[in-house]
């Protein structure tokens, strides 16, 4: 097991890489469309690596859209805790590079779904560039998902 993966697994015990709010919002808009339907709480477990044994059943025709979702989450919603960043920052003023952890998380999600990294690299932007109906629906779903996350974080009374 690589050091990055080991650190991610350790971090997963105390931190949600994809916040609970984001998992539930994603569940509301895409559940059952690109991989097998499940509950909001299982989304939290899957996307936060609590259940590595879970096999994500992604139909072959949904591979590229699934890759896009995973890449989208990794880029826009994946976080590490402040505590983790603080521990790993060599210099106080140095920007912490989250990229290796983001990539490792993405690789682990692909492993759970049985999609190869090569396939991911070739097809992860297909959903963004193609105008097929399914891809358009996915992009709209992700826009709605973003709005919901934004609204959930909008105000704390």
């Amino acid at each position: 097991m690589s050091i990055v993966r080991r650190e991610l697994m350790e971090e997963s015990l105390i931190h949600d890489f994809i916040p609970i709010t984001s998992c539930f919002a994603l569940h509301r808009f895409i559940n059952g469309k690109h991989f097998q339907p499940t509950t909001g709480s299982q989304y939290v477990q899957i996307f936060n690596l609590h259940t590595l044994d879970t096999e994500l059943k992604v139909p072959r025709e949904e591979y590229s859209r699934f890759c896009y979702i995973i890449d989208y989450l990794a880029r826009n919603h994946f976080t590490l805790s402040k505590r983790f960043k603080k521990k790993h920052r060599v210099d106080e003023y140095e920007e912490f590079d989250i990229t290796p952890y983001r990539k490792e998380w993405r690789a682990m999600m692909l492993e759970m779904s049985g999609i190869s990294l090569e396939h991911f690299k070739r097809h992860y932007r297909d959903a963004l560039n193609s105008s097929s109906k399914k891809n358009t629906v996915l992009r709209e779903d992700l826009e709605d998902f973003e709005k919901m996350v934004e609204n959930m974080n909008y105000a704390i009374s």
């Binding site: 609970i20 509950t39 959930m152």
Partner: protein
């Protein structure tokens, strides 16, 4: 600053009381239900709790107490899952905002009705050549009276709209809230507390 562990324990107990009220079919206020969402948003990042415990000396008994409170909460939720499935934040939000929306609507309609009436009176006044005539003077007075009323309804509508927006802002996050989110968070808190207490007992670093 209050001890974060004790604060979460106390807030979680209050959340448990709110759930008990829902299960007993008490008339649980919307504010109480919104407090569940507030608790969720406030403590969603469980790693903050770990960071706090690392930076502040915390008694292990407080962590165990929080863990127990989490266990009781989850047990209660599981035992009453059927009743609690009736929890619907969207319906509650809509019901809460309905009277404020109605107020805006009523005032808006009254304003529009009077505005139309004023236009009609104005048209009639335009058709009267003699501005000294009794009919013109009567219409002029009616116009002024209705204008005063219209402005009052306009003012009331603006006021009601501001109140509606304030209420919406207060409750906005709650609209998207699901009880399951809170349960997942409480389960996470419990897992983290158990992990921390085990490590503290072993004397290792967190």
């Amino acid at each position: 600053m209050e001890d974060l562990v004790k604060q979460i324990t106390s807030e979680l107990s209050a959340a448990h009381d709110v759930l008990s009220g829902i299960v007993r079919h008490d008339d649980v206020s919307i504010e109480a239900k919104v407090s569940l969402c507030d608790f969720f948003k406030k403590h969603e990042r469980v790693s903050d709790l770990v960071a706090y415990i690392e930076d502040n000396p915390t008694d292990i008994s407080d962590i165990v107490m929080l863990s127990d409170t989490c266990s009781r909460f989850i047990q209660f939720y599981n035992e009453n899952a059927t009743v609690l499935s009736s929890f619907n934040a969207q319906e509650d939000t809509n019901a809460y905002l309905a009277p404020y929306k109605k107020e805006v609507d009523v005032e808006g309609k009254a304003w529009a009705r009077l505005d139309t009436l004023m236009k009609r009176i104005s048209n009639r006044m335009d058709s009267i050549m003699d501005m000294e005539s009794e009919r013109f003077v009567m219409l002029d007075k009616a116009y002024d009276r209705i204008q005063g009323l219209r402005d009052l309804h306009r003012f009331n509508q603006d006021k009601a709209y501001k109140i509606l927006k304030e209420k919406e802002k207060l409750i906005y996050t709650f609209y998207f809230f699901e009880l399951e989110m809170l349960v997942v968070l409480v389960q996470r808190l419990k897992d983290v507390c158990q992990l921390l207490s085990t490590r503290m007992k072993e004397g290792g670093c967190l």
